[in-house]
């Protein structure tokens, strides 16, 4: 039975996941509170996108437990998983709009697939959501005609069209100009408060994320190394958190992916 009484919409305990022999996530635990904007931050390649795919059941964990709104994600059948996803809106890193359809049809897609609403109502809902992201005027444009920032806003309109309980953003700020960035930041905050939902924002952009998040988790080496409000993190005493929050190149986090000794590698004949 879904148990909706806890404060947490997502609860993760002892999560482990590897790609090949390399562990990506290792004994990771965290909880995401209802109604808040939670940021998940961490250096590139620490498994933030992987974590999102695990939460939404696109990947299966090797160890540990993930509960979303009381459901154990890795124990759901495909049908139950699809049912759960109807309560989740997800914004992909590149928007992932359906290139065969125009903006209007992209936003209408979940409605057409999951409801039998009359055309007139679909039109109203879609235009309302497009208006919310400021793109009502672009309804008849094709995805290929949109800029990156516009595409992401359309994807946001599509993600909220089914009125989800949980909205997940993967790198919503990457590659945006300052104006679009401000727009997206404000949208994330407004969506969360106006629609009374929970948001997860994955990003490595410390400043932007701090501006919008109520609480942040910082991942490294497959674990949560720090968590708290942006203020708490800025004054955190761990060397790693300091390095990450302030963007120093040197510190506990190596800039290099694990590799053989540099000199030896250059001198050896074969790629090991």
């Amino acid at each position: 039975m879904p148990d909706a009484t806890t404060d947490y919409i997502v609860e993760i305990e002892g999560l482990g996941f590897s790609r090949g022999d390399r562990p990506v996530l290792d004994d990771l635990s965290l909880g995401i509170r209802r109604g808040e904007v939670t940021a998940i931050m961490g250096p590139s390649g620490t498994g933030k996108t992987t974590l999102l795919r695990l939460i939404t059941g696109q990947l299966e964990p090797e160890r540990g437990d993930i509960r979303v709104d009381g459901r154990h994600v890795n124990r759901l059948s495909r049908r139950e998983l699809y049912e759960m996803r109807q309560d989740i809106g997800m914004l992909f890193q590149q928007g992932a709009l359906l290139t065969d359809y125009d903006v209007f049809e992209n936003v209408a897609f979940p409605l057409r697939e999951h409801t039998n609403l009359p055309e007139r109502l679909i039109r109203q809902v879609v235009l309302t959501k497009l208006h919310a992201v400021g793109l009502r005027g672009a309804a008849r444009m094709m995805p290929s005609e949109l800029s990156g920032g516009m595409a992401r806003r359309v994807a946001l309109a599509r993600a909220i069209v089914m009125d989800p309980k949980l909205l997940i953003y993967d790198e919503p700020f990457a590659g945006l100009d300052p104006i679009s960035l401000g727009v997206v930041l404000r949208l994330i905050r407004n969506m969360n408060d106006a629609l009374n939902i929970t948001s997860i924002v994955v990003s490595h952009d410390v400043l932007q994320t701090a501006a919008v998040a109520d609480r942040s988790f910082i991942l490294a080496d497959g674990k949560v190394v720090a968590s708290g409000s942006p203020e708490q993190l800025r004054t955190h005493d761990s060397g790693f958190v300091q390095q990450f929050m302030h963007g120093h190149a040197d510190g506990p986090v190596p800039f290099h992916y694990p590799a053989p000794d540099y000199a030896e590698h250059l001198l050896s004949r074969r790629e090991s």
């Binding site: 939404t56 696109q58 699809y82 996803r85 997800m90 590149q94 992932a96 897609f109 599509r158």
Partner: protein, 246 residues
């Protein structure tokens, strides 16, 4: 060798998944299937008509040359019809189909994979196998026999053009021989082959797209594999069916 067997296993499992999703996908959204029949059919149509006509004309020339050595020019219509119905129609159409409609299915689905559109559908609780794969698969399977019929009809016209108009075979004899010798079973063999080839060509096309490496090169490589694998499978299947039926 081991790779081919693994591939065969993967294709078979995928086929099972497609078949399991097929009834519901086809019944709930027949419009999508019709659109894909139209797609698969129209992209290949002109190509198949042109090739059919040339293959028919070659049959006319070669057939006339061979048959006249036995003074059997009257059987030219029969020769052409049997060659086309039983072998050339299904085989050549399937090969052309793989090169035109098959590659476009693979690259469409592969591009959707590479740009996360398939993941996005899954996240919107829409099964991409039902929404994207089944309509294309079924569209190809239904379009194939229709394309084969068109190829055959135009092929015979090509033979007629050479045999009757150029070589001087009597038109009445051409048709009456053809009608009296070609059996329903010959036609049925051709239809059976075209359905099997339609399944094989469409299945490989959607499989390669669905499972491709999600990058630009990945889509390109998958498209090439579609053509190569379909060509080999069609010729092997053709041998197996022919051997079983003769």
């Amino acid at each position: 060798m081991r790779e081919s067997i693994e591939k065969l296993g993967a294709v078979t499992l995928f086929f099972g998944r497609v078949l399991a999703a097929l009834p519901q996908a086809a019944l709930s959204r027949p419009g999508l299937v019709v659109a894909q029949i139209y797609n698969a059919g129209t992209v290949s149509l002109i190509l198949i008509m042109i090739c059919g006509f040339f293959v028919g004309m070659v049959l006319g020339l070669q057939g006339y040359d061979s048959l006249s050595r036995f003074s059997a020019e009257d059987s030219l219509g029969t020769l052409s019809a049997l060659s086309l119905f039983k072998e050339l129609g299904p085989v050549v159409t399937a090969l052309l189909f793989a090169g035109r409609a098959g590659t476009s299915m693979t690259s469409e689905i592969g591009l959707m994979r590479a740009t996360d559109q398939l993941s996005a559908m899954e996240m919107m609780a829409v099964d991409p196998v039902k929404r994207v794969v089944v309509p294309r698969f079924l569209g190809g399977v239904i379009a194939m026999p229709l394309l084969v019929a068109i190829f055959n009809a135009i092929g015979i016209t090509g033979t007629y053009a050479i045999g009757v108009s150029v070589m001087g075979v009597d038109s009445g004899v051409f048709w009456s021989q053809l009608l009296s010798t070609v059996d329903l079973s010959d036609v049925a063999e051709g239809i059976f082959k075209s359905v099997v080839f339609g399944v094989a060509a469409s299945l490989l096309a959607v499989f390669e797209g669905y499972t491709c490496t999600p990058t630009a090169e990945g889509v390109g490589a998958a498209t090439t594999r579609t053509v190569v694998e379909t060509a080999v499978s069609i010729l092997v299947l053709d041998y197996l069916i022919t051997a079983a039926l003769i």
